[in-house]
C-alpha cells in the first residue's frame, strides 16, 4: 500500500503581516514558519494508518515551496513519514489553488497511491480547494472536513463535520483522498530518537517545472490589512491599570457588574 500526505509550510498566524514588494502576498521578513495546523492532523492520521497496518505502507510526505519547506518536511518525517518529496518552487505563493492541485496530481499520477491525506485548508490562503481539486483531477473518491477516520480492506469510513455539530458518515473506496479538519486526532510530538532517525530519511527534490503544466486561473491584484471597523476601546500598558479601567467601563456600559 502507498500513502501520500501533502503539507504546506505557513507563517505563525500571530505574526504581523506586511505586503511584499509586489503588493500581492505577505513579505517573509521576520516571519517564523511551521507546518500548517490542519496538515499536522493529516500527517498524524497517515502515520496512525501505517502503524495500524503493521508498518507495511510506504508513507510519502510532499510539500511545495522554496528551500525553507524542508524544515516542515523534516518534522513530518520525524512524526513517522518514510520519505519526502520537495517540489522546489520559489513562486509557490503566486500559484492559484488549481495550479497547486495540478502539481500534486502530476506527481501522484505515476505513483499509484491508495490514499492521500491533506489538510482541509491552509491557515494563510484558506481556499479549502487544493485537496478536493487534486482528487478530482486524479478521479479519486474524496471527502472533505473529516473529524474521524477508520480504514479496513480498501474502504475508509469517515465522519465529515457539518455545521451545528452534526456529522455526516461517509464510506470511500480507495483510491481516495480525505481533507482533515482540526481535532481529527492529537498530533504527536516527534521524539528525539525519531528526530535523529528522520535526518537520514530521503528527501527527493523535484523542480516545479517538471510537474506544472497549468496556467493560472486567478490573479491576486492586492494584499492589505482590512480597514479597521473596530470602534472599540483599546487598553494597553500596565496590567493593574488595564484591569481598573476595564472594571470602570463595565460598570458604565453593562448592567452585569454589581
Amino acid at each position: 500500500m502507498k500513502i501520500l500526505v501533502c503539507i504546506k509550510q505557513v507563517p505563525d498566524m500571530e505574526s504581523r503581516f506586511r505586503p511584499d514588494s509586489a503588493g500581492v502576498w505577505y513579505a517573509e521578513t521576520d516571519l517564523a514558519f511551521r507546518i500548517n495546523e490542519y496538515d499536522e492532523f493529516a500527517v498524524e492520521q497517515a502515520v496512525r494508518l501505517k502503524e495500524q497496518l503493521g508498518g507495511e505502507p510506504e508513507l510519502t510526505v510532499l510539500s511545495i515551496g522554496p528551500d525553507r519547506v524542508a524544515e516542515a518536511m523534516k518534522k513530518a518525517l520525524a512524526m513517522g513519514c518514510d520519505r519526502g518529496v520537495h517540489v522546489q518552487d520559489t513562486s509557490a505563493h503566486l500559484r492559484d489553488p488549481f495550479q497547486i492541485a495540478s502539481i500534486i496530481a502530476a506527481y501522484a499520477k505515476g505513483e499509484q497511491f491508495d490514499l492521500i491525506f491533506t489538510g482541509l485548508q491552509s491557515v494563510d490562503r484558506g481556499s479549502a480547494q487544493v485537496g478536493v481539486a487534486t482528487a478530482e483531477i486524479l478521479n479519486f473518491a474524496c471527502a472533505s472536513t473529516i473529524v474521524k477516520f477508520e480504514y479496513a480492506d480498501g474502504v475508509a469510513t469517515v465522519k465529515r463535520e457539518l455545521e451545528g455539530g452534526m456529522k455526516g458518515i461517509v464510506q470511500l473506496k480507495t483510491p481516495a483522498l480525505v481533507t482533515c479538519q482540526l481535532g481529527l486526532n492529537v498530533p504527536r510530538y516527534p521524539t528525539l530518537p525519531n528526530i535523529m532517525k528522520a535526518k537520514k530519511k530521503e528527501i527527493v527534490v523535484v523542480p516545479v517545472a517538471d510537474l506544472l503544466h497549468q496556467e493560472p486561473l486567478v490573479q491576486t491584484s492586492s494584499f492589505y490589512a482590512p480597514a479597521k471597523k473596530g470602534t472599540g476601546i483599546v487598553l494597553e500598558g500596565d496590567v493593574a491599570d488595564q484591569a481598573e479601567k476595564l472594571i470602570a467601563i463595565l460598570k458604565e456600559k453593562t448592567a452585569v457588574l454589581r
Binding site: 498566524m13 500571530e14 504581523r16 503581516f17 505577505y26 489553488p97 488549481f98 485548508q121 494563510d124 490562503r125 481556499s127 479549502a128 480547494q129 478536493v132 481539486a133 473518491a141 474524496c142 471527502a143 472533505s144 472536513t145 465529515r160 457539518l162 455545521e163 451545528g164 455539530g165 452534526m166 456529522k167 455526516g168 458518515i169 461517509v170 464510506q171 470511500l172 481516495a176 482540526l182 481535532g183 486561473l217 486567478v218 490573479q219 491576486t220 491584484s221 492586492s222 494584499f223 492589505y224 490589512a225 482590512p226 473596530g230 472599540g232 476601546i233 483599546v234 487598553l235 494597553e236 496590567v239 493593574a240 488595564q242 484591569a243 476595564l246 456600559k253 453593562t254 448592567a255 452585569v256
Partner: protein
Amino acid sequence: MKALLIGEYRDGKLLDSTYELFGFAAKLGAETAMLLVGRESELPSYGGTLYLADVGKVGEYNPDLHKKLVLAAVEREKPDYIVFQHSSYGWDLAPRVAASLKVAQLSEVISIAEGGFELPACSQKMRRTVKPASPVVVLTLQGGAFPGLKPGGTPQLQQIDAETTGGVTFMGYEAAEAKGVDLAKAEVIVSAGRGIGKMENIPVIAALAKALHAEMGASRPVVDSGWIEHGHQVGTTGQTVSPKLYIACGISGAIQHLAGMKKSGFIVAINKDKDAPIGEVADVLVVADVMQFVPTLTAKLAK
C-alpha cells in the same frame, strides 16, 4: 450576466443561508437561476428558474452526482458565475465543479471589489483582492457576508437528473452531541481560547467566570485539545450565544468563533496580539498576556 446559484438542503430542510446567494446576486446585478437537490414540498421563495433534483433519489451527500447535476445545469444556463455558500457543502462541492470545468474558483468571498472580489487571508487578519482569469467563475461566499434576500414568487421548476459512478457512499447523519451547558441562556460568558497556553490554566479562567457569575465558554482549539468538554464550545460547530457580556480570553477570533458570539451585547477581548481578528468585534480590547491580566482582574473584582 448570469449567476447559477447552488442552494443548500440539509436533513430534509432548505437552509436559510441559501437566501444569501440571492443577496449576492442582487449586489452583483446578475440574473439568476438556481439548482437545488431538495423536495418539491420545501422550495425557496423565488420566482426564477429552479433546477430541482429529488433528494429522495439523489441523496443529500453524493458529491459526484451533485457535481454532475451542477454541470448539467451549467450546460443549460451558460452562467458567468456558479455560486455556493462557503459551508461544509459548498467547499466540498465547488472545487469539484471548478476542476471539472477547469475554471477559476474564489473561496470565501467577502465583498465585490473594483475589478474583482475580496477574499480573506491569513486567518481573517488580512485581505486580498483577486481577479479571475476564466470566462466562467466558481465562487463560495463567506457566511453572513451578504444579506439574506427573499426574492418571492413560485419557482419555474425544471427537473434535472444525472448518473453517478463515484466511490463515495453516504451512510447517514450523526446528531450533534447533547449540550452539557446551555450557553444560550447565560447573561455573562467567559470564554477560554488557545492563548491561555495549557489545560492547567483553565481554573484561572474559571475563577474569573465565578467572580462574574458567568458560564464558561471555549473556542474550538481548547475543546479539540480536550481542555474542556465540547458542550462549552462557542461557534459554528458549537453553540451560538448572545449574552449581555462576553469576555474572550486568549481567543484570536476565527470566523467560525465570531459567527457564534458577535451578537453579544458587550464584548471584551483579552489578547496579546493587537491585530487579532477578535478586535474587529470587541467593544474593549485589552492588549495583554491573558495569564497575567485575568488573575489581576479577578482579584480586583473580588474586592
